[in-house]
Amino acid sequence: MAGTLTRKDFVSNQEVRWCPGCGDYAILAQVQKVLPEFGVAREKVVFISGIGCSSRFPYYMNTYGFHTIHGRAPAIATGLKVTRPDLEVWVVTGDGDGLSIGGNHLVHALRRNIGLKILLFNNRIYGLTKGQYSPTSEVGKVTKSTPMGSVDFPFNPIAVALGAHASFVCRAVDVEQKHLGEMLRRAHEHRGGAFIEIFQNCNIFNDGAFHELTDKPLKADYQLILEHGKPLIFGRNRDKGVRLNGHKPEIVTLANGASEKDLLVHDETDPALGFILANFAPPMPTPIGVFYVDSRPPFEAEMNRQLERAKEQRGVGDLRKLLYGGDTWTVS
């Protein structure tokens, strides 16, 4: 059963309705590709989304799905996961849905460590409402609602997640299919809440927002792939590395005297390092991969353990005793 599932089993019969060329297609394709590999029965998988282009996602997955209201997917998913820890619950959200109107639910789900796998499709724009800037849009962005350029300093979703003490924080890119697949697998395997920021190109309203990370000639110089226990090396000749000067990062060229062992070695378990990496801004490269992981127990496990413990300690609830058990008196 679960073992024999293929990509096709996860494709629903609904016509996919994103703009041609939208990065959402690539993400959908990868999710449909890797899910069967996880060996979870299809009926145990649920996709919950808010509102936005990205939030159409559940319709295209032949699993259980709930396309809810703007920003609330993490809250709805919380109620589901807490009462049904047997389910694999994925949340699909956008930079507006997840960080603007739904920002609070997101950070609370992360701090609580609800065992949700949260995919935040970050295209740095509101797609569905046709192109207003979002909380991840850069300062100065000219959009329909900011004709003279935005004056909002943007969120860095990775930093927000780390600030909320998420237990698994990573970043992927829509078109880096293999890496994205790995990240999905890591999220699936993580016992607890997982936050995955996925850079996603909106070719209609914000085309090329991540072109440095996706354009062949550029990306090797701009992308820094994080691997636990490995030194931070990048560049098309893999000749650039990142070193800490005190607690400040700097780029060094490996040829020029600096050697691999001077380099910062990635440690997924260190929140401070995660935060340093999250704050990499040009000229530093953009890290992708897992920034941080911790293994504290998920909320739903603890909550259900309390229910079990209560049953052990007080016996499975007996309604008669509950009603008749207090200070009663009898009139006869």
């Binding site: 009926e43 649920v46 259980y64 709805i76 109620g79 009462t83 509950l322 008749y324 009898t330």
Partner: protein, 635 residues
Amino acid sequence: MALPGGSAGQEEGARPRAPEAPQQPQRKPVIQRSQVVVRFAGDSGDGMQLAGMQLTAESALAGNDLATLPDFPAEIRAPAGTLAGVSGFQLNFSSNEVFTPGDEPNVLVAMNPAALKANIDDLSTGAIVIVDKEAFTESNLKRAGYESNPLTDHSLDRFQVFEVEVGRLTTLALRELGLGNREVQRCRNMFVLGLVSWLYHRPLEPTLSWLNRRFEKSAELREANLRAVRAGYNFGEATEIFASSYQVPPARIEPGVYRNITGNSAVALGLVAAAVSAGRPLFLGSYPITPASDILHDLAAYKNFGVYTFQAEDEIAGVNAAIGAAFGGAIGVTTTSGPGMDLKAEAVGLAVKVELPLVIVDVQRAGPSTGMPTKPEQADLLMALYGRHGEAPLPVLAAATPADCFECAYEAVRLAVKYMTPVIVLSDSNLANGAEPWRLPELERLAPIKVEFRTDPEGYQPYLRDEQTLGRPWVIPGTPGLEHRIGGLSSEHLTGNVSYSPTNNELMVRIRARKIAGIARELAPTTVFGDPEGGDLVILAWGSTFGAVREAVKQARAAGRKVSHVHLRYLNPLPADLGAVLRRFAKVMVAELNLGQLLKLVRAEYLIDAFGCNKVQGRPFKVSELVARIERALK
């Protein structure tokens, strides 16, 4: 108190109960009374709620019918001794059926000047006032805003004032225990409880056994409290201060097992009972808010019943989490008060659209905006009905008494899962904190709640409806072969696929409306208290006004008025026969604690020239106000 349409305590069928022997021999003259209203008042820290609750327990054991009303100070703890910090508890016990906590106390126990000042105007001439004389210090008088000492300036001359040195007497009684002064002073409430118990021949057993339980772990405090309560009792008997005591014979009460219950506790129990009947876990997604928080607190203690309580980051998350839980097959519930209701509107609309069961409990408080959070009002009715964008109808129920909160919560779950719809239950801060004796239901008699998740893929469609109820099938994730997607967009009949078809949209909007309207089919015919065939005036009411209206109607009828009372539990849909019933009366008056909300519905629905009897003071109706209003209406 008789529930609307219920049977507890109704005069027919209730049998007289053997009076309990008084606790200890009483030697002073004893006067018979049929009803007494006692109010304890003191600083928040004075333990007045506890004293009141125990007098209630004693009165229940004495076989009286009763009703209570706690009156908490405004949200912030005010400095000791100020008016803002006064906490009160009122108990009405009687040898007759009791419907309200009473308009005017016969006895006021005032632990300090502020407590006296805040309450004295509610008393009528001749009432008993027991004060802790020691608390009437210069500084306390000033804090309460007294210019001169009321104990000496003759301003209390029209009352029977008893000045008791409560502090000193309590200290004396506990002398040997070697407690600190703070602990000793904390027992003052038990001293006055003992005193009042003596005065009204209350049996002390419930209090004594409660103290034994409560201080199980501290022999010292247990002993102190036991001594204090006995000292108060004995003080009444021993001293010359009271010339006589009073006896209130037991009421004729329907046989059964009783307990005291507040509305909030009853909601919690009703929800648990319903979840047990349904065989499903209960999930409460809630955010603390006065006066609803205690439902969360109560439910948090029922984890061994499979009850999940999730204190969410806000009310929006609370209701959405409950929707998520319902999607997964749990009984999803959210509890709140007015401001929280505002925030839940969008999610409730989603639940209406996707047709998932959900129970929303709104413990109303005085508004608008933050208003008076601890005070009651009934001004959320129209919001419950219409407070969402689009056409999003749902059933609305209102509880009439604290115990009725059990029934309403239970019924809400039943309707929610039967019709696959969110259901709103309206309570208010009167019910929430007020207590009454509750005749416990026989479990076998609870309406069955059937939850059958569909598992058969054959012919399954997400919006294929039950022909009777028009409810759609509840299919939960984890069911192989029934994978499907739901959502807030307009969706196609049967398949539930996203659809922008104009006629399909109208079809779905109308089916949902019909589904809710159809619930009227299963409502019992309207019960009229008074003249079912019609008369001069009927008072239509809902919610916590039940007791006051019923009592007022009784009094007016006793005075020969042809006035009746109809009390609604179902505000949406309204009972099918309601229009016909109302039309039998020459006049229809709608009594509610708002500016006329049910009134609007009734006028629109039945085109009856009903008029309102309204109050928005953060206080329940007084019986006397209603009686006067009835007289005016009949002129």
